[in-house]
Symmetry: D2
Subunit: 345 residues, 4 copies
């Protein structure tokens, strides 16, 4: 850590800072420059929080040197993390192809969609039973009945299933039905929820919050990892910017950026990011091309009747054409798309 | 609602849209323009969700006419809402002056701070017992012990107290100790938590999320109101933008903007918004000048030893000077700052 | 255009709006709904500006139906525009591979870099002679001497050259040396400059401003097109957001988004967007995968000695490896990368 | 400056960085920490640009210590700058009250508006003759005829006048008619224009760009100051964010923030920032309350017929009521609003 003092700091102010650092068991190194005095701090940076030192009189700036996350950091875990969910590998060159409707609306409809996306090459089935809706008057999901449907359809088709959990009180329930937990963008910093899923031994897919930096997302992953659950999958799904012709702004540079800093797999959700089906195939291709470990796409057999997010869903045929493109792209780039057990691709 | 069709839509596409609107029990009005066909929809707009219609083939744009919130809307409740907490009124010209440390760290420290802010004119005491920290390795709050301390200090000084609740499982516990619930910015769209505090008869202060629009914040208020709890206080605390010299960007136009649309009181938190104590007094003055119903300021007797957010806290003396300014300003503008029972201002 | 009136508008206010529309030679269509009165306007929307109508008493919202740009719009020009610069085609499946140093620093250095990028497959040479630098104390470019060097190197290697023009007074000078004008992000709404390059018959590459929407960029293109110059190339180079681990946030959804609305070619600059060389190859691949008509990359033989933007430059070897990947990707996707005359790829 | 090396840097990499610093005539101070090696650089930081050092192999981060602007910096000019324009002082407690129509549309109309705003207490008249419009099809201003009108009206009423200059070729012309140059938000980084107005001895009002940080704005001021013109007035007019219910997001914390760093006066434009007349008075009061050196408001006698930005203009009566409030506020806060010569306030 480096502490920069204000210009013309008094010797007393400097001494006060030095003493405080020593009280914390660390060693200060003083450098007097022409315009500023700078103090380098040697020792275990994790011992002290950066914040309080900024409050010391005479301190202008505190520059941390180490990253604030550890378990998520590639520095301490150089190889890509690879997880396996019912025979489908994610990470390290294996792509998770997650598809399904935004919300589970009924068993027949989900089954029909699931067969089509599986046949197109999807290897994980998604569907929401608990839906975080901006309006209290919108459809809020089928709840446990939705979870039961998802499990039955997944089992019938040998597909692992992912579904959102929104409330720490639901974690146990959702764990009984789902293979992968999803933490939605709005709950990315719902720390009690993160701790709760951290206690279960199931992979957790964390969606980036709409105003979260790469660092914020990795800190949220750290909450799960610190509880002992090492299977965290990151998901870029767009951030909020001034651009209003897409629902959000897909930040694809997040993919190589996050992989540079962290060993965790990262997938991309072009459906929520763009909100416009005509842009989804292009952005899915781009996601694979820049190194994403998977793509998450919403598919609905009749978008105009969907109870949630219909306008951004692809039709099953559109998804099948997209998957054909993504398979060729993955092959060119030396990546693998696992198929579900029993499926002959 | 207005539905704009794509150029050169076929008569079949137009018919399909018209039928769908009639199926929903509404009346479509067709206008054929030079370049576009437009359909106005008459009837109870709340019957249909705007979203799915965008998924109809041939539809280019759907323009809702009514606001998606009702209970929060001034259109249906023209007068300012005014709430009273232990004799302190908020809204309708009465200003809530909320002050205290970021986190409750101990009884003696809280008492000392509380006496000073009360003497300076604060009429609500704040302090966090459950702390949403970006890092799992940071101080997470004293929990129930913190709530007990807060209650005892509030009672000793006749000050109502506000504290954050982060988890639906804590709502009952926090309700036993707090006079006002705070929902933090990171939980603004934690809908299960909003529903839970909506069931309790205590005012709820909802902080605007870092990427929430005015509309989003009012929709979150609507979640609480729809459960039967009509005492919601909004709080502007800065949004995330590209500007990096302040912690967030305080969006003060939110204040008259929200008051134009909604009857709910709105207060301002310049501490979290700026993260820089030297900017807080100026922004607190601006908040009162633009019509805020209160100001929320963090105060600590020794910021450099604070366990959370020390660098952005004002010292008690600085707070007292600020309150003297704010009182003069409030008087000039014809607003009232209630004092706590038993205090002789 | 659709005009939504405020609730409870008086008949006088409604009449006033109707008269104003008729004065403008257009036909109003009145629809009285339960909660709002809505007026559809039929006729040549371009006759009236949307803005002033918002100022009419009683008007709540004005919703334009047509896009505000015409010449840039795909609706009026369905095929992709394709331009040719010294035998290199851009658009319609032909990719512009633009490479070179940020600033021209000397003839030998530029020649050395140009040979290497041409051999790697670049088909347009870039280099700045006039440099828009945030600080007045930074290197401002070699001016006309730089232009002369660029021209000589381009001619020696049969490469068309692109360089930035910053000032309307330089347009004639730059036109003598350059094959393609570049308008930098900071000048995207320098309308006098846009008009000036619109009068010259040379392609103009317009970089998206850091806070420009897709619509804003197309309006700037419209300024050039309206002057008679139909050869405009758009360039996505990142926008400003809260994310601070990259220099800007590359908005790749801009590519299919812009191509959906406009016939103009659009290329991507991952160098300025990310500012981090380790992220550039991934984002260049993503750009080609999502349909960009070219990639613009800064290359320097010794980044640590570059006079401008060194840290974001690729080394020639890194560029060569990237181009090999991009060629394979382009082939898979059925796109063509033209080679400069006389080069045997 | 502080240079942080990557973990496990080789001794060769460290040596290379040390040599480079010494070549630049500076003195490196090496500190070896547990996890990182850090090099402090002592000497005249302005000798070396920060950027190229980031490109050195082994360098992870370069942290500049000094601010990149000098003439604009309060560190080197502790007192507030105060300028005088035809008897009206700006800065150091004197408020510039700038008012007038967005565009000059005719002499009679401008005169009528000018009389009203002067009588209300405005002390500088504004009006655009050259208009930067997003669309090439919008009204572009009256040009020199507009300047002549502005000058005549200003002279008739003893009001100094401010008007926008957009093109370096217009600087001489505009200087013949205007008392203060305005640089619009879209031209804030039009560096050739900044240099040109820097050569004239007239105050320059620079509007903050929609995506400019405080630092960026001060760097643009530095361009003018470095040419010898020391009379720069900053102007906050809103930045681009995701919030879409206001035209831009007014960043009022910019006011105390900029005054903390710089001695230059800073005024606020709530008209462009909000785009909504009903929010302007509240934000103008907030501007004065947080320490702004003036307020810039658009006023039009008939907003619905305005040729530019009508919907955001105040009526003269609304402006007069606002000025009455601002005068009381200014008095309370100990600030002065100069009146134009010959006016008896």
């Amino acid at each position: 850590m480096i502490i920069v003092l204000k210009p013309h700091s008094t010797p007393e102010a400097v001494d006060h800072v030095l003493k405080r650092i020593e009280e914390l068991g660390l060693t200060p190194h003083l450098s007097q420059g022409v315009a500023r005095t700078v103090i380098g701090v040697i020792g275990d940076e994790s011992k002290l929080q950066v914040e309080p030192l900024r409050a010391l009189p005479g301190v202008e700036q505190v520059v941390p040197i180490l990253k604030p996350f550890k378990l998520a950091c590639r520095e301490f875990h150089p190889e890509d993390s690879v997880f396996e969910v019912k025979g489908v590998k994610i990470g390290g060159g294996h792509l998770a192809m997650i598809a399904g409707p935004c919300a589970i609306e009924g068993e027949e409809l989900l089954y029909e969609t699931a067969v089509k996306v599986r046949d197109a090459g999807a290897n994980i089935l998604r569907g929401g039973a608990f839906k975080p809706r901006t309006s209290p008057y919108s459809f809020q999901g089928l709840g446990e009945e939705g979870l039961r449907i998802l499990r039955r359809v997944g089992d019938a088709l040998n597909m692992p299933v992912v579904t959102e959990v929104m409330d720490p009180r639901q974690v146990e329930l959702v764990a009984r039905y789902a293979d992968v937990f999803q933490i939605g963008a709005r709950n990315m910093q719902n720390f009690d929820l993160l701790k709760e899923v951290g206690k279960v031994k199931k992979p957790v897919l964390i969606k980036r919050g709409m105003s979260a930096t790469v660092k914020d997302l990795l800190m949220s992953a750290e909450y799960v990892l610190a509880e002992g659950n090492r299977e965290v999958i990151l998901c870029e799904r767009g951030i909020r910017t001034f651009e209003d012709s897409t629902r959000n702004t897909l930040d694809l540079s997040m993919v190589p950026n996050s992989k540079h800093t962290s060993h965790l797999p990262i997938i991309v959700d072009p459906s929520h990011a763009t909100g416009r089906p005509e842009l989804i195939p292009a952005m899915a291709r781009a996601a694979v091309a820049c190194g994403a470990d998977g793509v998450h796409v919403e598919v609905h057999t009749c978008p105009e009747k969907a109870l949630s997010d219909g306008p951004q869903a692809l039709l099953p045929d559109q998804y099948a054409r997209l998957m054909a493109e993504l398979r060729r792209l993955a092959e060119l780039l030396g990546r693998t798309i696992d198929v579900c057990e029993g499926v002959t691709a």
